[in-house]
């Protein structure tokens, strides 16, 4: 864990700075109450009534998130392979080509089924 200590120190400093700034900004600024100012901004018209729990989110973003998980895990598999590639030799190449082909089949499927269409 010794390698991570400087990173933790920087993380603590950065978080402390961010918390301090936000608190300082909240305390230092003026407070002038105004009903219209405290409404959420919608270009001056009465704000849309906010649905409880955040409301509905278009399902397309859910699909993007799922695809991200699938492909991100693929990348994580590629990293150790890339690092040890020179030691593993031809075996690594064959294995990874097979893996990438499997991923490409999934990718082509997603594309053909319209998973990569945004409008």
């Amino acid at each position: 864990m010794r390698l991570y200590v400087p990173i933790l120190v920087l993380a603590v400093l950065a978080a402390g700075f961010a918390i301090f700034s936000v608190t300082f900004g909240a305390l230092a600024g003026p407070k002038r109450w105004n009903k219209a100012k405290l409404e959420s901004y919608e270009c001056g018209i009465e704000p849309t009534p906010a649905p409880l729990g955040g409301g509905k989110v278009p399902i397309k973003y859910y699909l993007t998130a799922m695809l991200f998980i699938v492909f991100d895990i693929e990348i994580v598999f590629l990293y150790p392979w890339a690092v040890t590639f020179n030691k593993l030799g031809a075996f690594a190449l064959v294995e990874m080509v097979a893996f990438v082909v499997a991923v490409l089949i999934a990718y082509a499927y997603v594309w053909r089924r319209g998973g990569l269409d945004w409008d």
Partner: protein, 449 residues
């Protein structure tokens, strides 16, 4: 831990902890990032001003240099508005979650070689890990939480839309970014930034792996939500995206996070592709260029050239459309990176084992695969273009029917491929059916342009 260090001798320098040295380095990086942000705000406004034939900020201090300082003093003195109906805890936490990880990611960027500070030999780098580059990806992923939570907690339509767009964009470009690293790891044989810089002693990876470098350059702009990929804050459409409801220092935190992320990805580009702190070619002929404190200068020059590139893009390019942005990420950068990785791996294996039948076989297979992929990609693109071209005519004739086929299930959206988006159609929709004139000359006559 010990066996990890034994496997990677470059990391032994980092396992020796001297407390004052750790604190000194952390403080320097922290101050450097804040100063770079302040400098970049001034630099960006000045350069864009010049690009647009106006002076830019020039009142506060010499050359307007104190303008960002004045801004930084002004922001905390503004009212900190927390709108009614927001989720207060998440609303306050979001800017902190966005800003803090951006600092952390910079810690693994090497500034220079091992130097002597007060009679202690130490590498000019806060920390290095066997998985250093993963830390950058991890921190950028955590930064996304700040954006999502900000948009969700604000309870405003602009905030929510901006946050969702931003998230979809950042995670999409993160895949292409992660893929562009693979070729570098393959050549360097390590994820540690020190080892990657050491491996670029003779050739910068930008020359050796140009495709990876180009993909990274595109994704680093997409990843930081900058022009031309700044849709999350597209002020013409969604005001300021996830930052709409934020003011005072909370807004400043998002701004700070954006600029620090720019610096970090520019530093990472320097480290992975531009030889890190190594001197560029004509200077590298001088024997002392890569020793002592000089490398810090080369590193900073490279980083600021990349940062200037950001400003240049902002002064030059318009914003892309959302579907164009996602299509670029998913349909061009990702397949391109995958094919490039296959190619690089095959070439590498070929050089390692010249007379192996397995490698020959795989190489042949990879070549065939690349040809098939290129053909599939091209025919898909042609099909898509043909469908779009057909869609224009249909949509122009009967826009309601063309898009309302499955209106019962989906969201009510206006027709999205109207001819006038592409400069073909009619101004103001004078008469129905006139948009169906597909010849561009004819429609120009109708518009009277």
């Amino acid at each position: 831990m010990r066996h990890v260090l034994a496997a990677d001798p470059t990391l032994t320098d980092f396992s020796q902890l001297i407390w004052w040295m750790v604190l000194l380095k952390v403080a320097i990086v922290f101050v450097f990032l804040l100063l770079t942000t302040i400098f970049m705000i001034w630099f960006e406004r000045r350069v864009i001003g010049r690009m647009q034939n106006r002076p830019g900020p020039n009142r506060a201090g010499p050359l307007g240099l104190l303008q960002p300082v004045a801004d930084a003093l002004k922001l905390p003195l503004k009212e900190d508005i927390i709108p009614t109906g927001v989720d207060k805890l998440v609303f306050v936490a979001a800017p902190i979650i966005a800003a803090a990880p951006s600092f952390v990611a910079f810690s693994i960027i090497p500034w220079g070689p091992t130097v002597s500070v007060f009679h202690h030999r130490t590498p000019l780098q806060v920390a290095d890990l066997p998985v250093a580059v993963l830390l950058v990806l991890a921190m950028s992923s955590i930064g996304v939480y700040g954006i999502v939570l900000a948009g969700w907690a604000s309870r405003g339509p602009y905030s929510l839309l901006g946050a969702l767009r931003s998230t979809a964009q950042v995670i999409s470009y993160e895949i292409a970014m992660g893929l562009s690293f693979v070729a570098v790891f393959l050549y360097a044989g390590s994820l540690s930034t020190t080892a990657i810089v050491a491996a670029q002693q003779h050739f910068w990876y930008a020359w050796l792996l140009p495709v990876s470098f180009l993909v990274y350059l595109v994704t680093m702009v997409g990843e930081t939500n900058r022009v031309p990929f700044d849709l999350p804050e597209g002020e013409g459409e969604i005001v300021a995206g996830h930052m709409t409801e934020y003011s005072s220092m909370k807004f400043a935190m998002f701004y700070l996070a954006e600029y620090i992320n720019m610096t970090t990805v520019a530093g990472l580009a320097t480290t992975l592709f531009l030889g890190g702190w190594r001197a560029p070619w004509p200077v590298s002929l001088w024997a002392g260029a890569n020793s002592g404190w000089w490398p810090v200068l080369w590193f900073l020059i490279k980083v600021f050239i990349l940062l200037f590139g950001y400003v240049w893009l902002r002064g030059t390019l318009p914003r892309v459309r959302y579907d164009q942005l996602m299509a670029l990420g998913w349909k061009i950068l990702i397949p391109l990176s995958i094919v490039w990785i296959l190619l690089i791996a095959t070439v590498r294996a070929w050089r390692n084992e010249t007379h192996s039948g397995v490698v020959y076989g795989t190489a042949g297979f990879v070549l065939v695969l690349i040809v098939i992929l290129a053909w599939a990609w091209d025919s898909g693109a042609q099909r898509h273009a043909a469908r779009l071209a057909g869609g224009y005519q249909e949509g122009a004739a009967e826009p309601a029917v063309a898009d309302g086929g499955d209106a019962a299930q989906s969201f009510p959206v206006p027709p999205l491929d109207l001819p006038h988006y592409h400069g073909i159609g009619v101004r103001g929709g004078a008469e129905p059916g006139s948009g169906a004139i597909t010849g561009s000359g004819a429609s120009k006559e109708v518009t009277g342009a």
